[in-house]
């Protein structure tokens, strides 16, 4: 018995030593790499529409960066970020702001993460922003849409960046599109989820419409279903009874799909013109189930809008993505990839300015602030909010079904310059809308 105890003690000691050696080796290994945390929805309702496509997009780009196989304009930039391989830590964003803040601190303080590229929910981004600044952690938000990040929560960011336009751009582009294509529209109503994203989307579209088409009345009975409610019977009846012919909706994911199924079964899409601001997340998945003729956006030039962008980078991205995942990349895939590319661009640029040596965090931040870099589908201009907020072109079009190709396509697409749909630098989006969108260059 005594011998067994001693053996057990030795085994325990050996295990401890092995673990310690392994840990030391791991840390030494990590010093040669850039540890990139990629939080995204891997479970829950946000996973199918945004989370998993975002993870897939990030994985494709990270792998190519590490192998040095990115096409032009990144084909001469070598492997990794400034020569160091990316060690990606992909984890689940589910659980809400409090949990994510705790996880953020854990990743920074205990796991030695060098930068974050992720977060999809506007709520999570809002919770993370002050913590990232407090911990001085380089954090790139590639997807979340609320304008409040740099307009209210932190108006003078140093460590937080967002690499796509915010929700104001969606509303303005949609209103411009309606004005150009439905000049005689008699009124508009909406169905948007009753939380930050839905409320912001409707507010910005409504404010933009009031400026661009002041004589067109908005309904006072726009619908506000609970997020993830899944049942829209009463809302569809209310929309059918409303006299406004145009319906604005920023529903996404399962909510959008349930609304489409229930609305189609009742003929809603024959009676009303629908404008979906983020429906690109579902068009490939649903195929012919999506009603054709609806006005559709993808929060920028992403997903289905990028299907025919003929550049080496986009052609390569779509091919690798489709070969690997058997579905075309959607908005979230493009946006996440665009966020990772921002890191690639910034690290390489900072290293070049540092005489080829690996750059410090401050040098990386300085390299990204105010820069213009090539995203997968379009150029990204980091020229808002002290160079921390991106602006890109925006596109809106009509969804149709291509019988020959057997897939959905966008028709009658209008491309809006970034300076047409995003508020000018230093200007609050809501104030800009209320003030008549002064300085917009359309």
């Amino acid at each position: 018995m005594q011998i067994m105890k001693r053996s057990g003690g030795i085994a325990l000691l050996a295990t401890g030593l092995a673990a310690a050696i392994g840990l030391t080796a791991g840390m030494a290994n990590a010093a040669d790499k850039v540890v990139m945390a990629v939080p995204t929805f891997l479970t829950g309702a946000g996973a199918p529409a945004f989370g998993v496509p975002a993870r897939n997009g990030a994985e494709v780009i990270i792998e190519a960066i590490n192998k040095g196989t990115l096409p032009a304009p990144y084909d001469k930039s070598g492997k990794g970020l400034a020569g160091r391989q990316i060690q990606a830590v992909i984890y689940d964003e589910s659980g809400g702001g409090v949990k994510q803040v705790a996880e953020f601190r854990n990743k920074v303080q205990k796991q030695g993460v060098d930068l974050f590229v992720g977060y999809i929910s506007s709520g999570t981004c809002a919770a993370i922003t002050p913590v990232a600044e407090e911990l001085k952690m380089l954090t790139i938000f590639p997807i979340c849409g609320t304008p409040r990040i740099f307009e209210e929560i932190n108006t003078n960011p140093k460590y937080v960046f967002r690499t796509m336009g915010h929700a104001t751009a969606d509303g303005v582009a949609e209103a411009h599109y309606v004005k150009a294509n439905m000049a005689d529209v008699k009124g508009y109503t909406g169905i948007n989820q009753n939380y930050a994203w839905g409320q912001d989307s409707w507010r910005d579209f409504d404010l933009a419409m009031k400026q661009l088409m002041p004589s067109v009345p908005a309904s006072d009975k726009a619908q506000w279903p609970k997020i993830f409610s899944g049942q829209y019977g009463a809302e569809i009846s209310a929309l059918m009874l409303s006299k406004e012919p145009l319906v604005h909706s920023s529903l996404w994911g399962g909510d959008l799909e349930a609304f489409i199924f229930q609305g189609s079964a009742r003929g809603l899409f024959r009676k009303k013109k629908l404008l979906f601001s983020v429906a690109d997340t579902s068009v490939y998945r649903l195929g012919k189930k999506v009603p054709t003729g609806v006005i559709l956006g993808a929060r920028g030039p992403y997903g289905i809008f990028a299907a025919n962008v003929d550049t080496p980078l986009n052609n390569w991205f779509r091919k690798v993505y489709i070969d690997r995942y058997s579905v075309p990349p959607v908005g979230g895939s493009y946006q996440a990839a665009q966020g990772v590319l921002a890191a690639k661009f910034a690290y390489d640029k900072a290293a070049a300015a540092n005489g080829g040596k690996f750059p410090s965090k401050d040098q990386v931040i300085a390299a990204l602030e105010g820069a213009t870099y090539q995203g997968i589908a379009a150029e990204v201009h980091m020229n808002r909010s002290n160079g921390h907020q991106a602006a890109t072109i925006h596109q809106i079009g009509i969804l149709e079904w291509d019988k020959d190709a057997g897939e959905p396509i966008m028709t009658n697409v209008t491309t809006f310059p970034a300076d047409c749909v995003m508020p000018p630098p230093g200007v609050n989006g809501t104030e800009w809308l209320k003030g008549g969108m002064k300085g917009a260059k359309c």
């Binding site: 829950g44 506000w224 199924f261």
Partner: protein
Amino acid sequence: MLTLIAILVDGLIYSSYLFMVAVGLTVIFGVMKILNVTHGSFYAFGAYMSATLVGIYYQTDLPEFGGFLVIFGAALIVGVFFGVILERGLLRFLYHRDEHIIVLATFAMFLVLEDVLLMIWGTDPYYATEPMGLLGFIDIEVLSYDVYRLSFIALAVVVGLGLWLGLTRTKWGKVLLAVIFDREISQAMGVNVTVVFLVTFVIGSILGALGGAYIAPTISVSPGIGVEVIVLAFAVVVIGGMGSIPGAMIGSLLVGISRAAAVHQFPEIELFVIYAIMAAVLAFRPEGLFAPAQARKI
């Protein structure tokens, strides 16, 4: 007038949906005094199983309306499988423990089953819209209603009536009522409470799964649907009185009609209505509208 009709029809459809997702929860609580959080998983598994089997069914040349049998079959498979496994494998070891421990155990199982669901079906959504398309729609002036969603009302009536007849007109129902009234005396009188608990739990599980299976053709069956439903089901059960089937019916009607009225007249408060009703009921009748009387033992 048309708005009034819309409120009534929409309210009845939504009430039926609420009743279908809440009745299994209330049956289990009524007999076993277990607040079964796993109910959300039964709903989700029912929906996934239904979407999967219906999808497979419509790839064959079998008669189109057979898809409805597949929906009920899916609910039966899920309900019996999980009902038996959970009751025999977990709950029976906890009956002598505090009620709070049992709630926590069912919550733990709910979390486990959410991950099992992801392991089986992944994160991609599943669709099974074919049965909804089969039944067509009815026009009431500018309003159109699809018959499939109208059939929620018929299903809720059949389920409610079936439970009521089963409880009040059968020997088995009377045994069940005896257990509800006093578990210990029933046992002393020779009632096999173990079997009653197992059968009740399986019935509750089937009802939970049926809610998910029947609603599946109208939604995108995707991760997280069980979480949303369990919150709604709890609200309805609390309003009606925990363990009361008529309470679940009245609670569903109250919430369904009020919500429909809010959507048509004051859409901004739609989210608020269900919880406002719950708060009002709890303020004036903390035990719910139709909570069965509790005998106090001395």
